[in-house]
């Protein structure tokens, strides 16, 4: 399981430092982590559990316990004199949020709306983006209808692949045929749709991947995410590769697959807006996803969830049992946190904003005192960044550059 970063111990009262108050005008977002799955996928190192009962935390009582953190957050922000904007987005991730009954998700969303309200358009109608991840296996038309009624606007299905053998390697339980069905139901009830794809599973051929791309485009969703498979240490997949049962994904082939996907998506009218995300229009980009890359304010609820508010990052206890215990005492479930100084905040902007199509203003490099025209010229010469954007003061990655984003970052600030 992914290690949490090292930071300072988090204060029990969760109060924010005064320095955070200067960031109140940024939009506010909520992430909700549901740490349950029916089975753990071989590649997954996220914080999730398959048991229904975990040392006093059951899937049945989890929603109520998570709502405790929502109440806690509301109290902490007001005691810190931090007045957040109404929520611009809410995102339920996991684990498998749809492992819980729709009524639980509705209750959590309700508590969030009660505490913070939703962003509204000039006509007074809520325009906040409310998404849940969903496993094609455990939602049906009725479930999706309940979500819609509760206020959800968007659903993102974990499709991963259209090829049975690849799904098996990834330990996914759904059949490929299930995906078009659930996407269709989601559209029927009026939800925006997205599918997640994973490329580079051991044994996946170029043709397999092309088939997944074609299938995903065939469902005509509003949004597609495509992530390259990363072999995380400690996962079953890593052990299988170490034992020689599976072959480690080849980075060059991963690059080829990314290029294939980008070409197919663009040809179908979907544009990239972040390294791993494409959408049919600007309005169907995931506002929640962008909030991470734009260093907005967000509170992450649930075990192991990360938060960022006003230059303070913190992360919760990972295990559901150690997560709920402090909440029951009215204390923060956070394990560690760090307060970023001005320089670190700027450096983060470089490594986050550069991933978006909107790009990184060169001014950030100047503020960091690392602006070197020679380096930028080199990146243009290597066709890693777009020349025209650079001349307008923006670093925007080219297709090749997106694949080498980390190298570009090192060139700019290391």
């Amino acid at each position: 399981m992914a290690q949490l970063p090292l930071g300072d111990p988090a204060p029990k009262d969760g109060l924010l430092p005064v320095s955070a108050l200067t960031h109140q005008d940024k939009s506010f977002h909520a992430y909700v982590h549901i740490p349950f799955c029916r089975v753990r996928c071989g590649y997954c190192d996220f914080n999730t559990y398959t048991a229904t009962e975990l040392k006093g935390v059951s899937q049945d009582s989890f929603a109520a316990q998570l709502i405790e953190e929502i109440r806690f957050s509301h109290r902490v922000l007001s005691e810190s004199k931090f007045e957040p904007k109404p929520l611009s987005s809410v995102f339920f991730g996991g684990g498998t949020p749809t492992q819980l009954p729709a009524s639980d998700l509705a209750a959590i969303l309700g508590a969030l709306i009660e505490a913070f309200g939703l962003e509204r358009g000039i006509d007074g109608v809520p325009i906040a983006e409310i998404t849940t991840e969903a496993n094609p296996d455990n939602v049906d038309l009725e479930y999706l209808e309940q979500l819609k009624v509760a206020g959800f606007t968007r659903v993102s299905f974990g499709m991963q692949s259209a090829v049975t053998s690849v799904l098996k390697t990834l330990d996914r339980s759904h059949t490929p045929e299930r995906v078009p069905l659930v996407v269709e139901w989601a559209k029927q009830v009026g939800l925006q749709t997205s599918v997640d794809l994973i490329y580079g599973a051991p044994g996946e051929s170029i043709a397999d991947w092309q088939a997944s791309i074609d299938a995903a485009l065939g469902y005509q969703t509003d949004h597609i995410s495509a992530y390259s498979l990363i072999v995380e240490p400690g996962t079953k997949l890593a052990r299988q590769i170490a034992a020689g049962e599976l072959v480690e994904p080849d980075e060059d082939e991963q690059a080829t697959k990314y290029e294939l996907a980008d070409a197919a998506f663009e040809a179908a009218g979907m544009r990239w807006y972040e390294v791993s995300n494409w959408s049919t229009s600007e309005s169907t980009q995931s506002a929640h996803n962008l909030s991470y890359w734009q260093s907005k304010n967000w509170w992450g609820f649930g075990p192991g969830a990360h938060s960022h508010i006003g230059g303070v990052r913190w992360w919760n206890q990972k295990h559901p049992a150690t997560y709920v215990a402090p909440l029951a005492r009215g204390e923060s479930p956070a394990l560690g946190r760090e307060t970023l100084d001005a320089k670190t905040q700027l450096e983060e902007q470089v490594l986050l904003m550069i991933r978006t199509k909107q790009g990184l203003p060169i001014q950030v490099l100047k503020d960091l005192a690392v602006f070197e025209p020679k380096l930028i010229a080199g990146l243009i010469a290597d066709e890693l960044i777009d020349a025209k954007s650079a001349m307008r003061g923006i670093i925007q990655l080219t297709l090749t550059g997106r694949l080498l984003a980390d190298s570009v970052i090192r060139t700019l600030i290391a």
Binding site: A2, Q3, L4, P5, G7, Y31, H33, D45, F46, N47, G93, Y227, S228, I230, E251, D252, Q254, A255, T256, Y258, V275, S276, Y292, W298, G300, G304, A305, H306, S307, H308, R313, W315, E338, T344, E347, E348, L351, L352, R355, G378, D382, L384, T400, R402, L403, L404, A405, D406, S407, V408, I409, R410, T411, I413, A414
Partner: protein, 619 residues
């Protein structure tokens, strides 16, 4: 059998008739230090409880490797036939790199014990030193050591020795330094057969410096052999080569710990302390005389030892450069043969071009720098000194391949050596093959005893500074031994091969090689670098070139993907820390043009050849 001497003769008043000065000539692991240890115990100068193995080897490296770098002298009492004698044992460096120091030690003695491992027979280095001893008219006592070993073949090797020095095989002493067997008899033999020193006690004082050691507490300790006259504490002495005058703060003998005395007389061996801080002010080979009554002639002409091999030494962490300079300055205090000057490499940054007497010297110096001064170093491939004459008659001395001139070269002279290889006769074929592949010319071949052969070759020094010794050892299952001596300069058909990364010359990889080997070198380096240098954001061509002519090329394909797919549930801290780690990694990179080359790649590319040199492999 002699009893231990009950009284010791007083230094400064010892009758030269009762003095014996000798050294031990032996191959590196033939047991010289163990035999010396046994003598120290038997004569009672070191009590058993104070005994530590290889008592005389002071430097850690010496003790670990079992080799002697600096020589030292010990005065031991020994009684025979009712008379007490003073034996001075002068320890000599065993390696050819230190031939100059060896010859000075030999000059301080009247006799030498030729110590040969009874299971191995005589080796090439020993032959070289034996030759020097015989040239110095020393009385030789041949001794077979390690006769306690099951594999010992004393008769066979006694035969071999007798053929070499022309003695009766029966007369050769058999000892075991380990058990002490025969050592007393050997000491008796030293007294009986070795001549006493001769000198004029009334002539102006003349003492020869045979070793000079830097001690961080006491300054330079100079070891001398008195030839004529007398020296006493508090007298003013003069170094005859420089006319520099110093006061004798302390004079004494080692037994084996320093014992101050009133003075030193004819034939005696001892030490002096004058308070000078740099061994260069007290040079091995120089003659010391009294300032008040100086001698007119020095004992032997002093000659500066010349470096044979050069290598660039660079700190891995560039900020260690001042520390490297300081460390070299300190080492120089105790190593008069060390020469160096600052050098800049495009690829490796700031460092020093360092000259060495030979490969072992190089290895010892780099190891001492790393161990005693805590430095991490990159050493460039060792190179020899070339004399280049241009078409316009201009002459250039090249100690660094990257300085090889680019204009019209008329001729290139390179140092050559006379190599002496000893091996069992079955290996003659592979040795000849190896030497011919290294541009060797055979001088002669001789049988030593029944099954051992001595091959003598003229070889370019440059051909043996790389991996020659390792190859010789591996091709002969470790049986061959090698010794070489300088044999002047010879013209060679040599060219400089440059290695270019993305068109930028990497100076550290330039090499001067024979025309016929240029292509092989180019292919080897380009292939190796392709494997060692990580892929970059762009394609990197690697070329080997002679001047403007490309002779080999490879390329490193551009890296295509280096991006994290997503941030786990908004865990930005993790991503940032990853970047910080990568930033750290980048600091250890050297930039060649726009190409990032990890330090490790330089080390790996430079170390494969000529890494393991010299003696330590011969065990």
């Amino acid at each position: 059998m002699s009893p231990r001497a009950t009284t010791r003769l007083e230094p400064a008043k010892t009758n030269p008739e009762l003095i014996r000065n000798f050294c031990i000539i032996a191959h590196i692991d033939h047991g010289k230090s163990t035999l010396a240890d046994r003598m120290l115990q038997l004569t009672g100068v070191v009590e058993a409880r104070e005994m530590r193995a290889q008592y005389l080897d002071r430097m850690d490296i010496e003790r670990e490797r079992g080799i002697t770098i600096k020589s030292q002298a010990v005065r031991m009492p020994w009684a025979l036939d009712g008379k007490t004698y003073a034996l001075n044992m002068i320890d000599t460096p065993g390696h050819v790199d230190f031939t100059y120091e060896v010859s000075r030690s030999l000059a301080a003695c009247e006799g030498a014990i030729l110590l040969v491992d009874a299971a191995q027979g005589i080796e090439a280095q020993t032959l070289a030193n034996l030759y020097l001893a015989m040239e110095n008219d020393l009385t030789i006592i041949p001794v077979l050591n390690k006769i306690d070993l099951p594999a010992a073949q004393p008769e066979k090797y006694a035969e071999e020795i007798s053929e070499l020095i022309g003695c009766d095989p029966e007369s050769i002493l058999k000892v075991s330094g380990k058990t002490g067997f025969g050592v007393e008899e050997l000491l008796d033999h030293v007294v009986r057969t070795m001549p006493a020193p001769k000198g004029d006690p009334n002539a102006p004082a003349r003492a020869m410096i045979f070793d000079s050691v830097y001690d961080s507490y006491r300054g330079v300790i100079t070891y001398v052999r008195m030839v004529d006259g007398h020296l006493a504490a508090r007298e003013k002495i003069q170094m005859m080569s420089t006319q520099a005058v110093h006061e004798l703060l302390e004079i004494g003998v080692s037994s084996p710990e320093p014992e101050p005395t009133k003075g030193l007389g004819v034939g005696e061996v001892g030490y002096l302390i004058t308070g000078v801080k740099d061994v260069r002010q007290s040079k091995v080979g120089d003659t010391i005389t009294l300032n008040s009554r100086p001698a007119s002639e020095p004992l032997t002409g002093y000659s500066e030892p010349l470096p044979m091999v050069y290598s660039g030494l660079y700190p891995i962490d560039g900020s260690d450069y001042p520390n490297l300079r300081e460390a070299l300055d300190k080492l120089k205090l105790s190593d008069a043969a060390l020469v160096y000057e600052p050098e800049t490499s495009v690829a490796l940054g700031f460092g020093f071009r360092v000259g060495f007497l030979g490969l072992l010297h190089l290895e010892i110096v780099t190891e001492r720098l790393e161990r005693e001064f805590n430095l991490d170093l990159i050493a460039t491939a060792p190179s020899v000194v070339y004399e280049v004459t241009m078409d316009d008659k201009q002459e250039i001395t090249v100690t660094n391949p990257s300085e090889f001139p680019t204009g019209k070269v008329k001729k290139v002279l390179e140092p050559i050596v006379k190599a002496n290889i000893l091996a069992p006769k079955d290996y003659v074929g592979v040795i000849m093959e190896l030497c011919q592949g290294r541009r060797g010319t055979m001088l002669d071949m001789q049988y030593l005893g029944e099954d051992r052969v001595q091959l003598r070759y003229i070889l370019p020094l440059a051909e043996i500074v790389f991996d020659f010794f390792d190859l010789l050892k591996s091709k002969t299952q470790g049986y061959a031994s090698l010794d070489y001596e300088e044999a002047g300069l010879a013209e060679g058909d040599l060219v400089k091969v440059d290695i270019l990364l993305q068109g930028e010359q990497v100076d550290a990889f330039s090499a001067i090689v024979h025309k016929d080997n240029a292509y092989a070198y180019g292919v080897k380096m380009t292939t190796k670098l392709r494997e060692l240098i990580p892929r970059q954001q762009f394609e990197v061509p690697i070329q080997a070139a002679i001047g403007a002519r490309i002779i080999a090329r490879e390329s490193i394909r551009a890296m295509r993907k280096d991006v994290l797919a997503k941030c786990y549930g908004g865990d930005i801290s993790r991503k940032r820390k990853l970047l910080e780690k990568q930033k750290e990694g980048k600091k250890r990179m050297k930039m060649v043009g726009r190409v990032e080359v990890p330090q490790e790649a330089f080390i790996a590319a430079l170390s494969t050849d000529g890494e393991k040199k010299g003696e330590k492999k011969s065990k």
